[in-house]
């Protein structure tokens, strides 16, 4: 069965510093990996995805994520955090072609401190 883990419930970072939000996955096969962001009282917004190809994926709002097959990780990163990046971030995994259902992690609350 596929699953995804976000080991940190909360990440705090100072504005202007680099940020990392961690995600590890477990699937039997080639994973399709996603990051979504949720602002208060809103639905989820798509940030980026890894399907195949380059391990470094660039997404919206200056975010990027690195797929590491040996470590089964897909950490979200940004070189310089903004206060407006403060939100709830979800990692998700989908298994293989034709399986469109997403399995979400428990979420990580990112707080960027001015």
């Amino acid at each position: 069965a596929q699953s995804v883990a976000q080991p940190e419930d909360q990440v705090n970072v100072a504005e202007g510093n680099p940020l990392t939000v961690k995600c590890t996955y477990s699937v039997s096969g080639n994973p399709y990996l996603f990051w979504y962001v949720q602002y208060p009282n809103r639905g989820l917004q798509f940030l980026l995805k890894y399907i195949t190809g380059d391990n470094l994926v660039k997404g919206s709002y200056g975010f990027e994520a690195e797929f590491n097959k040996s470590q089964t990780s897909f950490h979200l990163k940004k070189p310089s955090a903004l206060v407006s990046d403060s939100a709830l971030y979800f990692c998700a995994v989908s298994y293989g072609a034709g399986a469109n259902n997403l399995f979400f992690g428990t979420g990580t609350r990112l707080t960027v401190i001015p």
């Binding site: 639905g43 995805k49 469109n100 979400f104 979420g107």
Partner: protein
């Protein structure tokens, strides 16, 4: 901005009432999903549909039911609401073989 809509955005109802949460998308996506999310917590898939007249239960058992009579419409119904149904309900859709899902703004339901 994705063209997927949910109404109502907020709903407070009494125990035992029947309610329907509406979800519509104008993107022509064949796949649609319902998730349940407690505030600030993970999402749990409760229903999904791969097309008209197709509905399946998700990973989390739910007393709600869904229907998919039209491609663009995927309503969720609770026949008799209970306080345990208090939660946020998120609708999403995706196209063909794409795994990227587009989410609506959610309905926050409170059952008193």
């Amino acid at each position: 901005e994705a063209d997927i809509y949910q109404t109502p955005r907020y709903l407070v109802i009494g125990t035992g009432k029947k309610i329907t949460l509406e979800c519509s998308q104008t993107m022509g996506h064949d796949k649609m999903y319902w998730y349940q999310q407690d505030p600030g917590m993970e999402l749990h898939l409760i229903h999904y549909s791969y097309g008209v007249n197709s509905t399946e239960k998700g990973d989390l058992s739910s007393e709600s039911t869904v229907s998919r009579i039209r491609t663009e419409h995927f309503p969720l119904t609770l026949e008799s609401a209970r306080p345990s149904h208090t939660s946020q309900y998120l609708c999403a859709s995706s196209e063909g073989r794409s795994h990227e899902q587009y989410f609506g703004p959610g309905t926050r339901l409170t059952v008193t």
